[in-house]
């Protein structure tokens, strides 16, 4: 049997999960397939791909990274912004506190990212000065 690409697996699983299929059954099927084909190492990549295709189907999940905790109001505003930008039906964003970003906000959703952190601005600046 030809090796299925991660993309093909992810599309199938995302379709099943957004359809009427029993999600527990789909998860078991996927687990069995990965064990059988000895591809369990690819699990995290497949999960990311499933996330990507789920977000294309309208269910966006992601992470907001900031240096300090966000207020509920700000988080709601970000979720609203992501909804507008992606046209998603549902947006679920987890919060992550990471002091290394120094300031600003980073929103990571499958395949896309909004990085308005101070640390990224510094990286870009560093590269520009190196080139010049």
């Amino acid at each position: 049997m030809a090796k299925l690409s991660r993309r093909a697996i992810a599309i199938y699983i995302a379709e099943q999960l957004t359809g009427k299929a029993d999600s527990q059954k789909v998860i078991l099927q996927l687990a069995a397939y990965l064990v059988d084909t000895r591809r369990t190492k690819e699990l995290s990549l497949i999960i990311r791909d499933i996330q990507f295709y789920l977000s294309e189907a309208g269910a966006v999940s992601g992470v907001i990274t900031t240096a300090n905790a966000l207020t509920a109001e700000t988080k709601k505003a970000i979720e609203k912004y992501i909804k507008e930008q992606t046209g998603a039906k549902t947006v679920a964003l987890d919060s992550l506190i990471d002091p290394s970003v120094i300031g600003g906000v980073k929103v990571s959703i499958p395949g896309r990212e909004l990085d308005a952190t101070v640390s990224r601005s510094l990286t870009v600046l560093k590269t520009r000065y190196k080139k010049a």
Partner: protein, 508 residues
């Protein structure tokens, strides 16, 4: 439709586009999966295009790479910087453009790397324009047949294998046979004869000391002001070696497209093919003959096809290419040599045996050819070139036969003697290109028999004396001859008289 409505329509469209655009807030991102040997494997970035620039965010700044393998689950990208800075898990962004380099007259006199960054210690280069590294070659209707000569200053080439502006003429031979020397002399000649041709020299994996020496020499000869050097050393990543000729061609195309003439020297495409083979094998592309990938022909054909003579409508500019190929033990039937021979419009084959016999430039008259240059030869050179190549080839054949026996008829003897004189005459020191009148007068002095009583060993001395005398006594005629027109009877007479007079001093 009135003018006003078109303006309104245009404004409405711009507004609609502005609303639809996400203004780049949500960037498409990918993640580095693994990295090694200058290649990064990236997941995500489903909209990445072939040759598109990727930006990898490392702790020490952004490292650029370009996508070469677009596969279903991942992208194989070749890094343009050090791979030690790139780690798995780092974020990758699309730059949104394919590779481009700075182009324009600001690059003249500079030594740059394939990304257009100055490496000569001078100030940073700021150009007004950027040129695409990979660009489609000009179409059929945008071209014109090659008709103007590109004088190399090397009489053996200009007389027997003339090169025209817009031609691709391969320089091929073993190591240490004078391939680069030919190319450098051609560059120097553009300065000495004030042809206005811009030189673009691409050093692919050349030692930095060699490049430094070349720059020094070009400065001494006063040609550096009309030269751009794109240099890569063996210490650079294979990706830069691969990019160098394409980036340099983009720089040369600027002059071609602005009604000027440029000369590209690719030194050498063998190392370029090796760098591409390295990249391809690391990208896990299937190896073919000599482990080169299947598209190694396309690698060079798409590069050399960009050299062209443009039509009058496009400004009549030209880009001439002198690619260099290094052979192993004179084997021109190896994979890369045959490929490039079939792409180019002729080749100048340099032989090791001739080189060690002291015949320099060691051009093989039998194996060299110029397929389109004949049409570009000036009247002056054409008037002396007839039958020279055939005569020289026949002489070398006869000379090898003559080694076995001493009983030769008079006709054969005289053919051999004239061949020996011609061979001596065509020897030329490095960095000493000759102008048109010098070439014409020299060739005539042997082919017309004016030097028939001068021994072969004294030919070079006689030639030098004759040229000095001609310039002193007939400067006006020689200046006229230098313009390239067919020599008049009067000019031919003055050459004959001077040559015969000079020959008397060298007889015996």
């Amino acid at each position: 439709m009135s003018e006003l409505s078109i303006t309104e329509l245009s404004n409405d469209l711009r507004n609609a586009i502005a609303k639809l655009e996400t203004s780049g807030n949500l960037d498409e991102v990918g993640v580095v999966l693994r990295v090694g040997d200058g290649v990064a494997w990236v997941r995500g970035l489903r909209n990445a295009g072939y040759n598109e620039v990727l930006q990898i965010e490392t702790d020490e700044g952004v490292v650029e790479a370009f996508a070469l393998n677009l596969m279903e689950d991942e992208i194989g990208a070749v890094l343009l910087g050090e791979d030690s800075k790139v780690k798995a898990g780092q974020t990758v962004r699309l730059k949104g453009s394919v590779l481009s380099v700075p182009i324009g007259p600001e690059l003249l006199g500079r030594v740059v790397d394939p990304l257009g960054r100055a490496i000569d210690g001078g100030p940073a280069i700021k150009t007004k324009q950027q040129g695409l590294v990979e660009r489609e070659a000009i179409g059929v209707m945008g071209r014109k047949s090659v008709h103007e000569p590109l004088m190399t200053g090397i009489s053996a080439i200009d007389v027997m294998f003339p090169i025209g502006r817009g031609q691709r003429e391969l320089i091929i031979g073993d190591r240490q046979t004078g391939k680069t020397a030919l190319a450098i002399d051609t560059m120097i000649n553009q300065g000495k004869q004030k042809t206005g041709v811009i030189n673009v020299y691409v050093a692919i994996g050349q030692k930095r000391s060699k490049i430094a020496r070349l720059v020094e020499r070009l400065k001494q000869e006063g040609v550096m002001d009309q030269t751009i050097i794109v240099a890569t050393s063996p210490a650079d990543p294979a990706s830069l070696l691969y990019l160098a000729p394409y980036a340099a061609t983009a720089m040369g195309e600027y002059f071609r497209d602005n009604s000027q003439h440029a000369l590209m020297i690719y030194d050498d495409l063998t190392k370029h093919a090796v760098a591409y083979r390295q990249m391809s094998l690391l990208l896990r592309r299937p190896p073919g003959r000599e482990a080169y990938p299947g598209d190694v022909f396309y690698l060079h054909s798409r590069l050399l096809e960009r050299s062209a003579k443009l039509s009058d409508d496009l400004g009549a500019g030209s880009l001439t290419a002198l690619p260099i190929i290094e052979t192993q033990a004179g084997d021109i039937s190896a994979y890369i040599p045959t490929n490039v021979i079939s792409i180019t419009d002729g080749q100048i084959f340099l032989e090791t045996d001739l080189f060690y016999q002291g015949i320099r430039p060691a051009i093989s008259a039998g194996l060299s050819v110029s397929r389109v240059g004949g049409a570009a030869q000036s009247g002056a050179i054409k008037s002396v070139s007839g039958g020279l190549k055939l005569g020289l080839s026949q002489f070398r054949e006869l000379a090898s036969f003559a080694q076995f026996g001493s009983d030769l008829d008079e006709a054969t003897k005289s053919q051999i003697e004239r061949g020996q004189r011609l061979t001596e005459l065509l020897k030329q020191h490095q960095y000493n290109p000759m102008s048109v009148w010098q070439q014409v007068a020299s060739i005539l002095s042997v082919t017309k028999g004016y030097f028939d009583h001068v021994p072969a060993a004294k030919i070079k001395a006689a030639q030098a004396a004759m040229l000095t005398r001609l310039w002193a006594d007939h400067k006006k005629d020689m200046t006229e001859l230098d313009k390239g027109g067919k020599p008049t009877e009067e000019i031919l007479k003055s050459i004959e008289v001077t040559a015969l007079a000079t020959a008397k001093g060298f007889e015996g």
